[in-house]
Symmetry: D2
Subunit: 342 residues, 4 copies
Amino acid sequence: MTVRAAVAGASGYAGGEVLRLLLGHPEVEIGALTGHSNAGQRLGALQPQLAPLADRVLQPTTTEALAGHDVVFLALPHGQSAAVAEELGPEVLVVDCGADFRLSDATDWEAFYGSAHAGTWPYGLPELPGGRAALQGTRRIAVPGCYPTAVSLALFPAYADRLAEPEAVIVAATGTSGAGKALKPHLLGSEVMGSMSPYGVGGGHRHTPEMIQNLSAVAGERVSVSFTPTLAPMSRGILATCSAKAKPGVDAAAVRAAYEKALADEPFLRLLPEGQWPSTAAVYGSNTAQIQVTLDAAAGRIIAISAVDNLTKGTAGGAVQSMNIALGLPEETGLPKVGVAP
Amino acid sequence: MTVRAAVAGASGYAGGEVLRLLLGHPEVEIGALTGHSNAGQRLGALQPQLAPLADRVLQPTTTEALAGHDVVFLALPHGQSAAVAEELGPEVLVVDCGADFRLSDATDWEAFYGSAHAGTWPYGLPELPGGRAALQGTRRIAVPGCYPTAVSLALFPAYADRLAEPEAVIVAATGTSGAGKALKPHLLGSEVMGSMSPYGVGGGHRHTPEMIQNLSAVAGERVSVSFTPTLAPMSRGILATCSAKAKPGVDAAAVRAAYEKALADEPFLRLLPEGQWPSTAAVYGSNTAQIQVTLDAAAGRIIAISAVDNLTKGTAGGAVQSMNIALGLPEETGLPKVGVAP
Amino acid sequence: MTVRAAVAGASGYAGGEVLRLLLGHPEVEIGALTGHSNAGQRLGALQPQLAPLADRVLQPTTTEALAGHDVVFLALPHGQSAAVAEELGPEVLVVDCGADFRLSDATDWEAFYGSAHAGTWPYGLPELPGGRAALQGTRRIAVPGCYPTAVSLALFPAYADRLAEPEAVIVAATGTSGAGKALKPHLLGSEVMGSMSPYGVGGGHRHTPEMIQNLSAVAGERVSVSFTPTLAPMSRGILATCSAKAKPGVDAAAVRAAYEKALADEPFLRLLPEGQWPSTAAVYGSNTAQIQVTLDAAAGRIIAISAVDNLTKGTAGGAVQSMNIALGLPEETGLPKVGVAP
Amino acid sequence: MTVRAAVAGASGYAGGEVLRLLLGHPEVEIGALTGHSNAGQRLGALQPQLAPLADRVLQPTTTEALAGHDVVFLALPHGQSAAVAEELGPEVLVVDCGADFRLSDATDWEAFYGSAHAGTWPYGLPELPGGRAALQGTRRIAVPGCYPTAVSLALFPAYADRLAEPEAVIVAATGTSGAGKALKPHLLGSEVMGSMSPYGVGGGHRHTPEMIQNLSAVAGERVSVSFTPTLAPMSRGILATCSAKAKPGVDAAAVRAAYEKALADEPFLRLLPEGQWPSTAAVYGSNTAQIQVTLDAAAGRIIAISAVDNLTKGTAGGAVQSMNIALGLPEETGLPKVGVAP
């Protein structure tokens, strides 16, 4: 099978990572590459790491440019995907790396994104219960947010086995690429190197309702989430430290058993041996999520920690993995499991 | 007044930072500098940033070398301070940057440090309730751990005003200097750059009982602490994200008022204007702690975040500040409030 | 003596560093702070490290705002200083951190800056031969560029003693703050972390003629300069690797002797012991320049390397040092010699 | 063809990178993994990024362990390869990532490495003139040093076309992984983050004679090299800034033409469009070398700059590329051309 794929938003970090992975995907042929303000430029000037595509020129993001592909990846600012997707036929697989179709609750959408709800597409996190079934054969995929990916993967085994109280406390550190290629002062190298800082504190981050949606579905009850994201001095990676009170009677063996059961057959989830903890370096550039869990008996809390590459498993890798499932390809096709370290 | 000060352990990060501050302290004259494996070496080869002391040679850490000083700073590995301190007369001010005399509970000490409890000295965190009174005129000071400094400063206003439930959840990121100049593989630059990773997860970090001790004293009830430290790709700085459920009826105004009241007159604590959050870069090399707090109404939690320089306010700055109080000097003498940024 | 100082361009990196130093200067009182697009904002939102000035509000950069000060520091984009300086009386000490008055050759200025030459002011690098005399009593100071500072300090002893051929080859690495707070994609943290890259290669960098001017004056003959600047993944610091062929008959002892003689009495220049090499970390936040030199006998070249903090000795520290000389204050007043490390 | 490969020294940075590449090589089956002090440990504890090999256990480096493989990669400390290689039959392809067999001049070897010369093997830099022919069918390969790779690739077109005078001046920045996983204080994260520093200045670096050997062979005359390596705050990457005086009459067009001709058909060398310069980020984790060149007319020098990943093209990628040639496999097999960026 050869799949012809277009990428809308090819000049950004998410689009660039989609292209890096597609260049290594044996069943994909890369078609149109589009951009907005960068249309007309050579890709080599914008994404110098993509050597084999250096001489490709970005087209404007139009229906014409995106026509004639089997798959279209949308790596656009929030709110722009719906209009583009509407113009693409129902037989085209549209993979939206943006937020537009992630939330099922229109009220949540409007409260956090401030615009009308565009709808809900099958959610591209195959590892969640029922996740693969929802993606098989679909022609529309909502790629999860990077933080919800890291957090949901860390906590779903605990909630699936009803081990944790429905109040999760999450502090996550992200590399700066999570904020995109936006020209904002606080994202300048001079500002971020040597510095840790929080943002979106107190419940305001847009990924919060997505985490609540995922964890509540797994838990079978509403899970509240206190989420504090922090910006770390690195380009890539998310380390999510997630905890919740253990339900009465839960012991360390039950926690370990739940994680071993949930993660045993997952090709991209790696439960580390006891005593070893995740690091973002170990998953750099890979589609692997490292996960570890323990029970803090004195504090009565389950502590689950995950490390993912925000651009790979957290965005483009999850997108390609979901595309593989939707198209009936082997799920692991074209996806690196090995990190680039040190 | 001219105070003659010696530093034992002058080749390490804590000792170097004590010396950096003492070089700018108008009332201090720097006397003996001692080391262990580095005795006999020029300080300039070990601490090249301390230009004015470059030609000083480290002596072995002996009673003779440390005799004849008004103040002796101990920047030694845990467990070595008691023996040295015993040899120094009661009229000498001994400032211990190690852990040996921080904990009042011998059982806690033995459980976390695995040796016999050496005793308890006045605790060098002046900003805690009663903190200054305990230090005035003392000749023995236990400098707090860097994490307990950051965490206690972030949370004491909430506990002092009985706003928070006694179960704190803390995730903190530290620069690598917090681990000292130890030659361990995971501290190599190749390993830490581009990586976030946790350690001591699940209640095992030695700073946990110190946090419990501080917060419980302020709260008037036992506070449990779930503490997860993480290693960040930066040399200095701690960002402590601390949260606890708000007690029933507590609203945002009460939280703000408690912090404004508690921090208003503190020379080194800076409650940021609402909406601005701390960053470790802003306090780099300074004795200032930036603090911010909010109430996450949806999750029902108070989120308090502090940023300190682990070597300055978190160690050497706190030590000098406490020394100033003990000696009756103005508390701010010789201590930078301005960070080196960007 | 109390000197009242204003800073025009207080929201940028140079202006912020001037303020950091002035806050520690015992003879200076900080007056007006001005900005352009940031006028009306609190300084605390723009320079959070300057805690004692957090509540000061930026005024627009006008003659009125800057009037009534003894010293005015200009930290403005190139080309804007002349107009502002003209409005300030000849009795006011104007310290220009920009490039406008550095070059004595109008042709060079026009070729490299593309505008009319504004003139030439006394040059603020006191360590060069005749440097201090030119600054005593002046009311106009052109602060050198950061690279020319590092390069001139590394090479002037070799040229002063006629040890080196007049063809210098220089490769320098700078921290990103050298590019200012400009919102350009290549300065984003995601781009610079983990990356080294050159720019302005082949003779085009604007600091090239300034280096030629300085070295030629010292050498007594025209010195050509091949200069390659590179951007390093750090916020601050310049490491300048400078070399030139040794003149016939020059040996290692002559080289060492020249540097020892030239640097012996300089308060801010530190010739390291043989075998120890500079690092930018060692001078972080300080006005010290570390310098080392050797003779590569096989290649026949003198290799001189300097490390400075581009914002301190390379800009604001050099500015304050020159101000001290101009005003008749002790040259070292208010200037840190100790770096913040690790 | 399935090639069975062993890696001696699998716990170090070079060995880990060889394994990362072999995991993606379609013709290789990974056999024995050996170590010295780490023998007996799980690879997952030492190289957590190599998820598919996590449960493999390191054997001691013995003849028995390495027997029965088609290819043996040696990633051992300098001086240890000869003894191991002797035990392996002449039919086994031995790829030495160490220095032992790189230099053809025994005097150079003894002067720079201080031990007896072990011999000279075919040199694994296929892009040099005659490079591929020397590797076809060989069963012994000396993998070049990382710096000589970067420098030789940057300068060989200029010397091949006799454009440059035989005196090269090179300043290169390397990521810390170039120093290996050695537990030395100056390689600690706290020391390297935020710092640039030189080492091996003045002709002493062991890679100097290797550069001279390569460039002299291309130039047809002895080329002297002034080489200054610097340590940069990043894990990976080399940026080599190389220059030499242009021979009389050489103009910019001739320089450009020489590089276009030399690099046109090279699969892993990428001459950038004029005006675009290399960055180490763009080649992170890839076997690509980015190269750019210009003529500084004022200084009369050719400036050639290359960026490589020191562990990939600079070590393990070059090793696998040379293995492919030796075994008659397509040269590009299993080697990434795309960098992981940002």
